[in-house]
Amino acid sequence: MSPRPTDVEVGTELPEQTSRVTRADLVRYAGASGDLNVIHWNERVAREVGLPGVIAHGMLTAGLAVRAVTAWAGDPGAVVDYSVRFSRPVVVPDDDLGAELTVRGRVAALLEDGRVRVDLTVTSGGDKVLSLARAVVALG
């Protein structure tokens, strides 16, 4: 059931979402998005350019994070604006568990025409991996 504008206020929290990202997920996202940058699948090259290991595509992290908003909104088409800053890479280990991603969201502002701004806090292993992650959602 989608929330109505009258159901939410500044501070309303979205259900917390956790997901895991494995190397297989990186391969799948590379194919689906067309982003074939080797640092997302090749450990040797990732280390050569100074990274601690293979890292997730920033847009994979951003795409997983906004699921917390679309699931809450009820209709993904209600997300009219979404912006992120990539503040820290998500290192994906070469094992079956991968990296964990935790997404928390809260309504940060009530805008005109039944729109609300949701601010997301996205962490992996306790570190914030996105900053200024914000979605504008048209409710009702």
Binding site: D35, G63, V66, D75, P76, G77, V79, V80, D81
Partner: protein, 148 residues
Amino acid sequence: MALDAGLVGRSYPPSAVYEVGREKIAEFAAALADPDPVYVDPAAARAAGHPDVIAPPTFAIVLSLGAGNVVVEDPEVGLDYSRVVHGEQRFTHHRPIRAGDRLVATATIDAVKTVAGNDMLTTRVDLATEDGEPVCTTRSMLVARGTA
């Protein structure tokens, strides 16, 4: 090397038409492990008020990556791609992208700046139907890390 501030406003010729397919949307949603039926089931999408399946909010990256390459590869921009990381990304949806859309992408350089030896290039990509209906505007900020 600092980017030339005179590049701001430079626009590139529109892309070829990209036809959005149901299968591509389904593939993208699967890559995000997103089970929402509006991405895969036309009946569910219609029940939510959409003419056909819609794409996830970040799907436009598929088109903006391609369209943004003309900027990255512009020799007059002179971006060192080996040092580039994705700094920021924004999507402004005028309406959801949906299966059957025939979209044209137009890239424009929105901003350039150099902070602490790092070059920052913001490219805007306007996605519109081939009839000119605005669908989505993406803004990508790339950072070329300084070698200093």
